[in-house]
Symmetry: C3
């Protein structure tokens, strides 16, 4: 079996490796709509075992802009009903000549388990609440475009931290890039203390908002909460959301981000979503760019100098 | 935000604009199977919030023949379960570089509402029983091929008028093109009187069939009727359908059309579907051609002289 | 209507025709990942009325490697809910310019019924337990690669013969190619005696395994059995499966095959699936190659010398 290279989590990558991916992401961000033929005639598969429009389409656009052939796996209509394991599905794709699989799954750590036993490239599009590395990369690219740097920025991540698909990657990656990280959210939605690295501070929402260069609001995972778990949407908004009043407390030059999809009027006032200080649309645009960078880097191999040092994820 | 151009309804188009779309449709109809690269590397999305094979495939063939990249949204597996609004989905697609969205929805007027706030091209593939403009364009193209003109033709639209996805567009467009329009159907399936423009006549089915150059039978929307609403399929066929007997009453040179899919033996005798006087297959073929014309015109912009005058739909 | 050419069952093909398909399959097997443009700009549709990942993806890879445009029909979201018949769907696709339809269906003999009335190429991807010709072709290609010939080989097909989608094709094709065929399985899973051609022997599992050059294990169609029908998985494995012990009884040079997906630990010990004697991954790879050969041959027409003699299936 050849040495494989995956993107399973940002915890596997060095600061330099992330910087190089961001640089390549910036390259593509500067070429909106450009059709490349770098992966012409090569096959990648999107295996989304959990529903997603946004992320799957973003990967699909990235794949097609690079010239790749795309296979989309739709759980309900596939032989997953026959009890085929993900491992066997991947081995099958491999045998068909598919070179990379983008996977979203509820099962944390699934890609890690598979990393050493399959011969195609695995790209994590979210494994439970563990990692969602391309989301974090696109967030970092967006910050870097805005501020010219990551080093020294203060980023506040606010809201439903416990159920966030994104937080895991940010906790690893942002401090490594020199970002000061603040967390804030309702007590019932805080991550396990063991998950929080040294140097990451937990603060009250108003302090978070007043201090941060980047106010990153997280989606309340409404579908993962039972009714009893929390208060009404309106109460949530008032107590834990980015209201118009709180937005006024932001520093000059500070920006709003959100991994989307947004619950308008819950974690964020609907009028802020597309306001001047919001980079939410920019994040989506950058999602395509960083995913092109990731796909290109993993599948092209040798031309990126740092690839040789990108460890097999394990 | 740039000025956008949409195809939301034929009520927005002038006679000349429709004539130019039909002319371009005829251009593509004369080039079956020709692969163009006019939209090479550009992205369009098909968002069908209601099931459809025929229309989605027709758009997909048109898109791919023009060289576009196609994203297919499948409601069940997407984050529509997360309650993301159509507006937010469109803005997301826009940020990814998608330039046009073909939308089918139950919600009448939805595209109209969105038209001014999104920056990609919207193409209506049916919004409830409001408009289905490309279906009407393909019908007109088929008539024009058959008779060499639209002006002065008599077209009878017969059957389940109330639940028709198509009728709305025909009521606007056909009279504008100089067609004399007759409607006929069971009382319980007639459109609201307010919907019927001056000059459109309601007649008995036998009169409609004897008078028309084009006998257009509509599908009984079986799934939208409760059992009690009407009589058996056989009775419907005898009383309101195009039976073999009624077909014999058609004028020499008159033709049968149907937007399909057909309920064989209900609104039309099964033997008439593929008979010599039926243009149903031709309609399907022309569907690809007019959709190529629409996509090309909206996305290409300046090269079609009339585009500049195509109003932002609202 | 033009003369159409289909691949409905191997029972329709002569020995020479199969040999030519295998030869062309070997051509593509030697060119892994090669992108051809033989079907550039031409449309094929995959209509899978039953769930399948493996077979649909295999066809899709084959189609895209040949440069074709691919339409994927997904039952739940299509107008099959409107009661459109398969015939009408095919005629619609035909009118749109689609040249071939790959069909999987529960209904045995469906393609046969449709063969004479549609004008596009039909390719059977499994019709109930009747035929699954491309699976059989890929199996034969895999054997031929391994042994250099088919003539004179002994192949044992073992397991759930009654519910196999594959067996029908093998019963026709393998004896025609000079293969000696042995069948073995639990009494309740044996095919109807009338289905078994002369010269095909039914033997005990141990004899089958000791005698065969190819031990082909079939998937227990767990989803088609009621609980009461058979014993536990463990008991099935011990009595009717390829255990590690039984694998040791195989002849020197004998190989294991399986149409997959595999029930690990039921019809085959999990450690045998990817063992040195297993050709299961090779089968998957060859699936793409033979499907390319089939698509190319049917759609290209005249350039393959034998195509002119490939009878309209009926």
């Amino acid at each position: 079996m050849n040495k494989t290279r995956h993107l399973i989590g940002l915890s596997d990558l060095s600061r330099e490796q992330m910087a190089q991916l961001l640089e390549r992401g910036e390259y593509w961000a500067k070429r909106p709509g450009e059709q490349a033929e770098i992966l012409r005639g090569r096959f990648v598969a999107n295996l989304f075992f959990e529903a997603s429009t946004r992320t799957r389409f973003s990967f699909e656009v990235a794949q097609k802009r690079l010239g790749a052939h795309v296979l989309n796996f739709i759980p309900e209509t596939s032989s997953s009903v026959k009890g085929e394991t993900v491992y066997d599905t991947l081995r099958t794709l491999e045998a068909m000549g598919v070179e990379a699989a983008v996977i979203r799954t509820k099962k944390e750590g699934l890609l890690q388990e598979l990393a050493e036993s399959v011969d195609l490239h695995l790209i994590n599009a979210g494994d439970g609440t563990n990692e969602h590395p391309t989301q974090c990369l696109l967030d970092m690219l967006t910050m870097k475009q805005q501020f010219g740097r990551l080093e020294g920025l203060t980023v506040a991540i606010i809201g439903d931290l416990r159920h966030s698909r994104v937080l895991g990657s940010h906790l690893h990656a942002l401090p490594k890039m020199g970002v000061k990280l603040l967390l804030s959210g309702p007590t019932t939605m805080m991550p396990q203390p063991a998950q929080i690295p040294d140097g990451v501070k937990i603060v009250e929402i108003d302090e978070a908002i007043q201090t941060a260069d980047v106010v990153m609001m997280l989606r309340v995972q409404l579908e993962r909460h039972s009714e009893a778990l929390y208060i009404s949407k309106e109460e949530y908004h008032q107590k834990h959301g980015l209201t118009l009043e709180r937005a006024k407390m932001m520093k000059a030059g500070a920006v709003i981000m959100h991994p989307a999809p947004v619950n308008r009027g819950v974690e964020i006032d609907t009028n802020l979503v597309e306001s001047k200080t919001s980079l939410i649309q920019k994040q989506v645009t950058n999602g395509v760019a960083v995913r092109m960078a990731v796909l290109e880097t993993l599948l092209k191999g040798s031309e990126m100098t740092w690839v040789s040092s990108l460890a097999t994820a394990n």
